[in-house]
């Protein structure tokens, strides 16, 4: 069996969060009634003309700067001609040989280019699957037509489906941090195509690639690429060749179907858009884009490591999720400076984020200051870690003050005294066999006894103290 290396490049379409569409003054809104955000320009009515959106150029430059791209001094819109019902003008206006941004790099993956274009209308097919196959009719919603898109094209620098997914997640966080897009794969404001080929390990030349279109979730990106790598490997292993084509991945069946072959590829007849002047990118425009850049995820992770002494893995995990990182920054801000940042980081990353699930931390009732206070209570020994987690559950569901929850529900640490001694006696009574073993010097047998004490005290007792007391009682 030959060892194959997968070579993957991504093309990502990002809807830009502008006030108006790319070439007209309609607002780009997702989810409204069909055809309520249209005008002569985005409907492609006779006589209508496009005017380029300066805000889209600004956001495009921000993306270019964040991805370390070289920026063009002049960028030219072309017409990409094709007939389809989602294309009101019969052409898309897109940048061709003079894109806004040239080569760049994000986390070791080279960026080939970033360019601006307008989105197509949305076709709604009247079929069970929502796909055109088997549909009796199709309708067109032009609300999406003309929405500004940035297309980000990588070099083929990714080598596995998991790596592609991970890098795409970093790109998404970067774009979200920039605030240039909603980056929702669900709603289609982030869309990903992948170019995939295989070559023998060690080979320098690229194999024949296929293009996998429009995977609309991170999971499908990974599964789709994985399925295509397996399909290509099986072809090559059995002595067959890969055919250049465009494929669709059906996440329900896990199958890949041909959308079009190389022979059916369009001749887009690109030519410079005569209705628009070239975009002249001035120093002032670049400076304004640079001024608008926030701290990027990679920079944030580096700061967590160097300034907060958080380890690399945890720093990247926090910084890799813009929402989580912002929450963490707020916790650090609110917390007493005597508490180590990495303790806070663990609470945010493991305990808080673990409870948040898909909806995210912002959807919960948990306030950063409350979490900071809670960690302080654990840190100064007022409550145990286990009790802290119980408090966190409450903060998540109903919010409020950690100290109040502790006192209302009697979650304060059990410090020796009658309550703890009674619990220890009860445990010895409940687990006589274990008690006997401890008396005989078998320290391992302490476990079940400690467990019973903890159960009786709802985790409010300190484990070390419980062990000490038990050993005293059992005289070993």
């Amino acid at each position: 069996m030959t060892d194959w290396e997968a070579v993957i490049g991504l093309e990502i379409h990002v809807q830009l969060a502008t006030q108006t569409k790319m070439f007209c003054s309609c607002s780009p809104v997702f989810g409204d009634d069909p055809n309520t955000h249209t005008c002569p320009v985005c409907l492609g009515l006779p006589g209508a003309l496009p005017v380029a959106n300066a805000q889209a150029v600004h956001l495009g430059l921000m993306i270019g700067l964040a991805l370390g791209c070289s920026l063009a001094s002049q960028s030219v819109f072309h017409r990409k001609n094709y007939f389809y019902a989602d294309s009101p003008k019969g052409y898309q206006i897109s940048q061709f040989d003079q894109p806004l941004c040239g080569p760049g790099n994000l986390a070791g993956v080279r960026i080939h280019r970033v360019h601006l274009e307008d989105d197509a209308a949305k076709l709604i097919h009247a079929s069970e699957s929502g796909r055109i196959a088997g549909a009796d009719s199709s309708t067109v919603d032009f609300n999406r037509a003309g929405t500004p898109l940035a297309e980000i094209v990588t070099e083929p620098d990714l080598h596995s489906a998991a790596q592609a997914r991970e890098w795409l997640a970093l790109l998404r966080t970067t774009l979200r941090t920039l605030g240039v897009s909603d980056v929702s794969m669900d709603e289609g404001s982030l869309r990903c195509d992948a170019n995939i080929s295989l070559r023998r390990v060690g080979d320098q030349t690229l194999g024949t690639k296929t293009e996998l279109k429009n995977m609309n979730s991170f999971r499908f990106v990974e599964r789709g690429i994985e399925a295509e790598i397996i399909r290509q490997r099986e072809l090559l292993d059995s002595g067959q060749t890969v055919t250049q084509e465009t494929l669709h991945f059906d996440p329900r069946s896990g199958s890949l179907t041909t959308l079009r072959s190389k022979e059916e590829a369009h001749d887009y007849r690109y030519f410079p858009e005569p209705d628009l002047l070239p975009v002249e990118v001035t120093e002032a425009m670049i400076a304004s884009a640079r001024d608008a850049l926030p701290e990027l995820p990679i920079e944030r992770a580096a700061r967590y490591v160097s300034e907060l002494q958080i380890d690399d893995v945890l720093a990247e995990r926090l910084a890799g999720d813009a929402e989580l990182a912002e929450f963490f920054d707020a916790v650090v801000e609110a917390a007493d400076k005597s508490i180590e940042a990495r303790v806070l980081a663990t609470w945010v990353s493991d305990d808080a984020a673990g409870r948040a699930g898909d909806d995210g931390l912002l959807a919960s009732k948990l306030e950063p200051a409350a979490l900071a206070e809670l960690v302080a209570l654990v840190d100064d020994g007022s409550i145990t870690t286990a009790a802290g987690r119980t408090v966190l559950d409450q903060l998540f569901e109903v919010g409020g003050s950690p100290a109040a929850i502790v006192s209302d529900q009697g979650l304060g640490k059990v410090d020796g005294g009658d309550e703890l001694e009674a619990a220890v006696d009860a445990a010895i009574a409940a687990e006589p066999e274990a008690a006997e073993k401890v008396r005989a010097g078998e320290q391992k047998a302490l476990g079940p006894l400690v467990g019973v004490v903890m159960k009786h005290t709802s985790g409010r007792a300190d484990g070390g103290e419980v062990r000490k007391l038990l050993l005293e009682r059992l005289g070993s």
Binding site: P46, F271, P274
Partner: protein, 473 residues
């Protein structure tokens, strides 16, 4: 003063309205009556009698306007001479039509044209040819033939046309009136149904040079809806020049020698002599690349039109023919039924010229020729104030005489296309008769030199005293 206000030029009527001697509503009704006299197939739509528009106190004095079919006018058919847009009523009005209405030139009627402005005889109109009022067996020129005839025959006081390669100047010449193609970018194209975006420009067709200056003065504006519009560097004033002292006129041999009919050549020479008498110096002025202009034009214009006309697909508006066999079949059937032969020919030419592998050889090369032609003009204007040529190599030709041979039809624009490619302004004025039909004299100037060429045109016009009464119904 005549009792008939429609016997006056537009500027004269506007002056009377402004001085209170003429009522704008009466003027509108009088012109409606004139529009009803159309027996030339010139008009595609006429305003309703008794519904004269609200009066506007503007510089155009309420003198109503004939507008070429391809300008979008809200609620009024705007078909660009094509069956594919038959009966199409846009939901908005073109910027320039809106601007002129605000300045006091309300919409009187719309005029027929070659389909999507592709043609030089108005025989490519889906709604029938337009006839020349000097001789109904002859063409009026094109593509703004309906607008030219409306003014020449006295159906309208003035008209709006568009010029892509000669579509204002050539019909103006063939109908004995004045036509101005402005500097590219000085008039908004928003709402003009596009033929070739980098060449299309709206301009006036009028009874005389003063009317052209007055109408044009209200057309120029930087329009935020048209990224290629720049407005004008100077305001346009009414010309009063009567002599040509100190003016150098350049005559390019390439556009005034071979291929020009003897009768047209004769009036051209007479006008040059007249210019000398008025004080002008006439000098030779080579435009070495001008003979290649037509070849470049017939690649660039079809290429742009092949893309501009892609939107006529039967999905959102206009005619739809659906054989019920899927989207591609609907496109084919709709476009085959909706477009006439000349439009189909140019779409195919343009599609081919832009195809992968042919782009550099055709479209790319044509753009390089265009640059060379622009350079020719730049060098020429270093030595002269204006360049003059016959507007058309012939007088109005008989209907049907060139339809079988597209190349001979394309040659109709031989003298006008170079200026279009260079984006510079050019005006055609009537300068005499040959075979009982008017001839045209073209004066071109550097970009934004409209005041200069209008002045030269005015001096010549005052001397020529062309009698256009032969065309009036």
């Amino acid at each position: 003063m005549s009792n008939d206000p429609t016997a006056l030029t537009a500027a004269s009527s506007a002056a009377l309205v402004k001085s209170g001697e003429l009522d704008a509503s009466d003027l509108f009704e009088a012109w409606l009556g004139r529009a009803e006299l159309d027996t030339f197939g010139a008009l595609s739509w006429i305003a309703q009698a008794g519904e004269s528009p609200e009066q506007v106190d503007g510089p155009l004095g309420g003198v109503p306007l004939a507008v070429k079919d391809l300008f979008c006018t809200e609620g009024v058919p705007s078909q660009s001479g094509s069956k594919i847009l038959e009966g199409y009523k846009p939901p908005y009005t073109a910027s320039v039509v809106e601007a002129l209405a605000k300045s006091g030139a309300p919409l009187l009627c719309k005029t027929h044209q070659d389909e999507f402005a592709m043609g030089s005889s108005n025989e490519n109109c889906a709604f029938g040819p337009v006839l020349n009022p000097w001789d109904k067996s002859r063409v009026p020129g094109g593509s703004s033939g309906g607008s030219a005839v409306a003014v020449a025959a006295g159906l309208a006081p003035w008209a709006l046309g568009t010029d892509t390669g000669g579509s204002i100047r050539q019909p103006a010449a063939l109908c004995g009136i004045v036509g101005l193609k402005p500097t590219y970018g000085s008039v908004s194209r928003y709402g003009m149904i596009a033929f070739a975006s980098s060449l299309d420009q709206a301009g006036p067709l009028t009874q005389d040079v003063t009317d052209a200056a007055l109408l044009f003065s209200q057309m120029i504006a930087r329009d935020p809806r048209d990224a290629t519009s720049v407005g004008h560097q100077e305001s346009i004033h009414l010309p009063d020049r009567r002599d040509l002292t100190g003016v150098r006129l350049g005559v390019p041999e390439e556009l005034s020698g071979d291929g020009i009919e003897p009768g047209v050549r004769a009036t051209f020479e007479e006008t040059l002599e007249r210019a000398r008498e008025l004080g002008a110096e006439v000098v030779p002025c080579p435009l070495p690349h001008a003979p290649h202009a037509l070849s470049a034009y017939y690649l660039i214009a079809p290429a742009e039109c092949s893309s501009n006309l892609a939107r006529f697909d039967g999905v959102r508006y206009g005619q739809r023919v659906d054989p019920g066999d899927g989207l591609d079949a609907m496109y084919s059937a709709t476009r085959a039924a909706g477009f006439g032969p000349e439009v189909r020919r140019r779409i195919m030419l343009g599609t081919y010229a832009l195809s992968s592998g042919y782009y550099d050889a055709y479209y790319g090369r044509a753009q390089r020729v265009r640059t060379l032609i622009q350079r020719d003009f730049d060098e020429a204007f270093a030595n002269c104030d204006a360049i003059v040529t016959p507007t058309s190599s012939s007088v109005a030709f008989p209907l049907g005489s060139r339809t079988a041979d597209p190349l001979s039809m394309y040659l109709s624009d031989f003298c006008t296309v170079p200026m279009s490619l260079a984006g510079i302004p050019a005006i055609s004025i009537p300068n005499g008769m040959s075979e009982g039909l008017p001839t045209g004299f073209q004066i071109a100037g550097p970009a934004f030199a409209e005041n200069s060429i209008l002045g030269i045109a005015h001096a010549l016009e005052s001397s020529i005293q062309f009698d256009r009464s032969g065309a009036r119904v």
